[in-house]
Symmetry: C2
Subunit: 168 residues, 2 copies
């Protein structure tokens, strides 16, 4: 396989994976494009490479910046804005974990906390089942939250090292 074809394949694959995990396909594709591009690209170049409209490119690049995955670069003497993606995969993973935790896990944790408090008749099977599920899901969610916290603070090799020591 040649480089241009391989890039294309990566962009497709990353886009598909993104959409399976609730990330807009185009956003994942733009990110993939920037990941395999050594230097920063303009909106124009992103539009060109992926055959998408100006509006789409603009909005997607802003989204990627709000996720902390892409940064704007201004070159001296130039009006155009350039976009550059951090290529450090551990940083990327942490950044995504951090954002999804804040956007999605935290609100759920808050709701579960309320639902665990719901009182009812201890002999009512409906209540018993509800209460047990809420308690268990709440515990697991908190564990996930703590694991993410560990990951966010950790250095890559230390984190995986510790994980794999689990089965030494």
């Amino acid at each position: 396989m040649q480089l241009p074809e391989a890039k294309q394949k990566f962009i497709e694959t990353w886009g598909k994976l993104g959409s399976e995990w609730g990330i807009n396909r185009t956003m994942a594709q733009v990110h993939a494009l920037l990941l395999v591009t050594p230097d920063a690209l303009t909106t124009e170049q992103v539009m060109e490479e992926l055959s998408i409209s100006r509006g789409n490119a603009n909005m997607t690049l802003r989204d990627l910046m709000s996720w902390g995955l892409v940064e704007k670069q201004l070159k001296p003497g130039e009006r155009k804005e350039y976009f550059y993606a951090d290529k450090d995969i551990w940083n990327i993973a942490r950044q995504v974990a951090k954002e999804r935790r804040k956007r999605e896990l935290e609100p759920v944790l808050k709701t579960l906390e309320e639902l665990v408090q719901v009182k009812g008749d201890k002999n009512d099977p409906d209540f018993k089942t509800f209460n047990k599920s809420m308690t268990d899901i709440n515990k697991m969610s908190k564990n996930v939250d703590r694991m993410l916290d560990t990951m966010l603070k950790a250095d890559e090799s230390w984190f995986w090292g510790s994980i794999f020591k689990m089965f030494k």
Copy 2:
């Protein structure tokens, strides 16, 4: 908050979380309903509780079975099929991890393996960037894969215990 309202809130919350993570909202809602219901429900009851059509209920329940989250129960002397969800949250998490790994991570790993093999000019910045990204993403994906493997084989309390020992 009263039990019926609380159930409703859980169903909503779980549905929203599901859709944020690429799982059909209705599927997550049906699963949530079964999680807070002590006994097995018929298609009819699911339709009723969530105000969805027969076709939708049928297809969603089959999907949940294919994910290994719900099982069909037949009661002696009855024609109707009943659907029951395993309430063990660790089992559920493992089952979801197992399926998503098989359906989504494995194909990506296979593609990355190919993309890492792509040869090119070591002085070409395009090639260097592509190759580094593929190598790094491949390594991280393999680590995730191994972590999932550990999780799938593990007992709940042992797994979290080991995770939290990481920061003792």
